[in-house]
């Protein structure tokens, strides 16, 4: 699975929880489902691409202006159709 699929596999089952890019990267690396380590920047790039496809939603935490991301209905549909692979 590629990074985009894994991001969806992490965010969808946790909806409506919203995570920072760093938190997502850390959890993906811990899962060892990628054949390489990913950085927060790698995750941010793919999140932006997924955002264009309306698979994820960007929100700004008013407390510290950090960006947090959550799955959208579209993203969750894709996740279900692709077999609900889940990043634990």
């Amino acid at each position: 699975m590629n990074l985009k699929q894994l991001i969806i596999a992490f965010l969808s089952p946790r909806y409506p929880a919203a995570y920072t890019e760093a938190a997502i990267a850390q959890r993906l690396n811990a899962s060892q489902m990628l054949d390489r380590r990913c950085s927060a920047e790698d995750v941010a790039d793919d999140l932006r691409a997924l955002h264009k496809l309306k698979m994820v939603d960007l929100q700004i935490d008013p407390m510290d202006n950090s960006a947090v991301w959550q799955a959208t209905e579209e993203g969750i549909k894709k996740w279900v159709l692709e077999g609900r692979v889940t990043v634990c």
């Binding site: 409506p16 929880a17 489902m33 929100q59 077999g83 634990c88």
Partner: protein, 216 residues
Amino acid sequence: MITRCYRSKIGRLPFAVRNELNERIRDGAQGAELLAWLNGLKETKRILREMKSGEVNAQNLTDWRSTGYKDWLEDQGEADRIRRLAEVSQTLAAAAGGNVAGVGCSIATAKIMDALESADDDKVSDLATALVKLRASENAAQKVALAEEKNALAKEQLSLSRAKFERDTTRLFIKWAANKDALALATDRRLGSDEKTERLGRLMFGDLWEGAEDGR
């Protein structure tokens, strides 16, 4: 979820095909039906050609049931567990006063998820039970409040009906006090109270009075 690598014929098929196969097995499809479908797919034919291998057979399917399908079922259970944790986390975040649709609640849900995912299942189960009880007691309290509200409304309606009745009766009295026949009946000392009521009723209400019951 653990990354798995399958070397079997079925294991080398694309993820989407394996996933559909697993779903069909779960839904009770029989071996012959599964094999006909699987071997008829372009992707299967292409991969088997690349592997220089024959069609997927009954033994391959049996092996898959005890490996890939078994793993898939476990993964489905894990996804369900995480979904349940997300629901519990969202309930907790909302119970703390968060707006469910707000960004604050989504962030709080993520933080609670982190804590719950690292907790053991028994503790999470206890927490979920406590939440269910809390929700049940909230519902019961809401029902009581609703019943009280209905009761107050009924009392108010009764009070309004009574006020309307009094006003209508007073108007009727003023109207009929000016009527000579009615006045004569009302002041006739030869008639008893019941007789006066009966005659005045007929005078004032005509045919409508006929069907009226005693105790009017």
